[in-house]
């Protein structure tokens, strides 16, 4: 049995004296598709930042691929997709290919991007179905296409673990379905997916396992068991149908 890719043990953290997340423990194994849901301000993004090593936990420990997250060096093994950053940096002229190429930067270090790197970039662009727009400016594309480009960046780095923080915010409904189809397909190819998502319904339909968070963990288990539980109503303070829109 290999080490879990993510191991979170009794983690608490707060930006002030008040904890944002408290007593969180769970593990994510290779090839899992895990969705994290919870109301606004429940600590979902903070938990992701802790897992990615961007913050030091006040209490507990987090391991990535068997190493402490803060000092984890094999950064090309982790792909990261957040809300559309181009929405903020919309004036920056940059092509899809240039963005995807960033996935090779941790690997290349201070060296040049070589032929192998370029090949990986081309393959990643093709995998997400963006070969025809590879040399177009990223801000000229739709929100859904831009998010695909960020997925391609993670693929270019040959990541084993894909971490996504509310990736569909601001993306049109049609593109959202295609985006989740792409995640399904990557997960079928053994890519581990850890998805923070405001759309509980999408998580229930797509993920194999759900973590329900509101400062502490209300639920950790298979999706089917989650829908049968009352964890969501306890975390959100309402019935599951109200949250998922049923």
């Amino acid at each position: 049995m290999s080490d879990p890719q993510i191991a979170v043990e009794d983690v608490s953290f707060g930006y002030t004296a008040t904890p944002v997340v408290e007593g969180i423990s769970f593990e994510v194994d290779a090839g899992e598709y895990v969705g994290i849901v919870g109301p606004n301000g429940s600590g979902k993004s903070t938990l992701l930042a802790l897992i990615l090593g961007l913050h030091e936990p006040d209490h507990g420990s987090i391991q990535l691929f068997g190493h402490p997250a803060r000092s984890f060096r094999e950064r090309d093994r982790v792909g990261y997709v957040a809300q559309d950053v181009t929405a903020n940096a919309s004036r920056m002229p940059i092509t899809v290919r240039e963005v995807v190429r960033m996935g090779r930067f941790p690997n290349a270090g201070f060296g040049r991007i070589d032929r192998t790197d370029k090949q990986r970039v081309t393959e990643a662009i093709e995998t997400v179905g963006m070969a025809d727009v590879a040399d177009r400016q990223i801000m000229d594309l739709s929100g859904g296409q831009r998010q695909r480009a960020y997925i391609a960046r993670a693929l270019a780095s040959e990541a084993d673990l894909l971490v996504l923080d509310e990736p569909t915010v601001g993306v049109d409904t049609e593109s959202v379905a295609g985006f989740f189809d792409l995640l399904d397909s990557l997960n079928d190819d053994r890519m581990t997916v850890l998805l923070v998502e405001h759309d509980v319904d999408a998580v229930i339909r797509r993920a194999d396992r759900v973590l329900c968070l509101n400062r502490s963990l209300y639920f950790d288990g298979p999706t089917a068991a989650f829908t049968d539980s009352n964890a969501l109503s306890r975390a959100y303070g309402m019935a599951i149908g109200e949250v998922t829109g049923e």
Binding site: L52, G53, L54, F65, G66, H67, R73, E74, R75, D76, V78, Y80, A82, V85, A89, R91, M92, P93, I94, T95, R97, E98, V99, M102, F105, P106, A108, G109, F110, I113, D135, R136, Q137, Y150, R153, S157, V163
Partner: protein, 342 residues
């Protein structure tokens, strides 16, 4: 297998660390050369300053031959030969840094550092008067601008202030300090302040041109070495951190390089207008470029046009060099907006 990969990565990181150390050594060595060139008789102290001075002389000889061959009178003067050399180098290094600054929404940092460089000039003039030494005010300007660059980062990091707030604080403090020191500095020195405020073609000496070549080499070398990291940090700071890039470290590199460009460009642009070279060609190229690399190359081409045309017009019509260059650059920007897709 994982242990082997980890070991290989550890070695790779050591190599990266060593490369960074070399880069810092290069910066230190170049600054030492700059200090040497400015503080002593050019070409007399060490082989590197001799080489830099030799490059300036070789450039002057080459331009002189071209001037005689083509009958271009303005290029027969030494100060114009040096002005064109300095201008051409500035038009490469300013957009090279400016492209990253503009797209990080730090366009005004050049302005802030230029105004603190003015305080550095004032300190240099004051020290020269009080201690009877001959230190180039550009040297003190480099030192003060670099301290100011760190101060901007420090204020933002320690107080959580927005970058524009820390820039405004440093800008005001620098210019105020410069103004106070200049007013203390009696003995006719105020007469020479204009050249620092507005730039002056005729004051571009061989020594100053040599220093600029040193700064140019450092800036181009560091940007070439760290281009990928700077681009990642510019585009998406959080993703860059996740990718293991030390974002604060690269922010500091960027501000230090900005300080070098600002002081280098001050000679012909002047404190008031130096920031324009960091921003206007980049803004123009952004209108036309599709990708980042295209924007970077485009901004250098536009900056070269602005500098070459601006210096020529400045000489012909006896106008201030910095102002003329900026007006040409703004003209190019207007044309780019008209021709651009946005």
């Amino acid at each position: 297998m994982i242990a082997a990969v980890a070991a290989a990565l550890t070695i790779a990181l050591d190599v990266v660390g060593a490369a960074l150390a070399v880069a810092l050594d290069v910066v230190g060595a170049a600054l030492a050369v700059a200090l040497d060139v400015v503080g002593t008789i050019p070409g007399q102290s060490n082989p590197i300053s001799g080489v830099l001075f030799g490059i300036v002389e070789a450039w002057n000889d080459a331009i002189e031959r071209v001037a005689i061959e083509l009958g271009i009178e303005m290029l027969t003067y030494g100060f114009m030969q040096q002005a064109f050399l300095v201008g051409i180098l500035i038009a490469i290094m300013a957009p090279l840094i400016g492209t990253f600054l503009v797209h990080r929404q730090l366009a005004l940092i050049g302005d802030a550092l230029a105004h603190t460089a003015f305080a550095g000039v004032a300190i240099g003039l004051l020290v020269n008067t009080m201690v009877s030494v001959s230190i180039s005010p550009y040297l003190t300007a480099v030192v003060v601008a670099m301290i100011a660059a760190l101060a901007i980062e420090l204020i933002s990091e320690t107080t959580g202030a927005y970058n524009d707030v820390s820039m405004a604080i440093v800008l005001s403090t620098g210019f105020a300090l410069g103004a106070v020191l200049i007013s203390l500095n009696t003995g006719g020195l105020t007469v020479s302040v204009d050249q620092y405020l507005f730039g002056n073609l005729s004051t571009v000496s061989k020594s100053n041109a040599s220093v600029l070549i040193g700064l140019f080499v450092v800036i181009v070398a560091v940007v070439t070495l760290t281009y990928k990291q700077l681009l990642y940090v510019t585009f998406d700071e959080t993703a860059a951190r996740v990718a293991g890039i030390n974002v604060p470290w690269y922010n500091r590199i960027m501000t230090m390089l900005t300080a070098m460009v600002v002081v280098g460009a001050m000679q012909i642009m002047g404190v008031i207008l130096v920031a324009a070279m960091l921003v206007v060609p980049v803004a123009a190229a952004t209108q036309l470029a599709r990708g980042f690399r295209e924007a970077l190359v485009g901004s250098i081409i536009l900056a070269e046009i602005a500098v070459l045309v601006g210096i020529s017009l400045s000489y012909t019509y006896e106008t201030t060099a910095g102002g003329t260059i900026v007006l040409v650059a703004v003209g190019l920007y207007v044309l780019a907006v008209a021709a651009g897709k946005r």
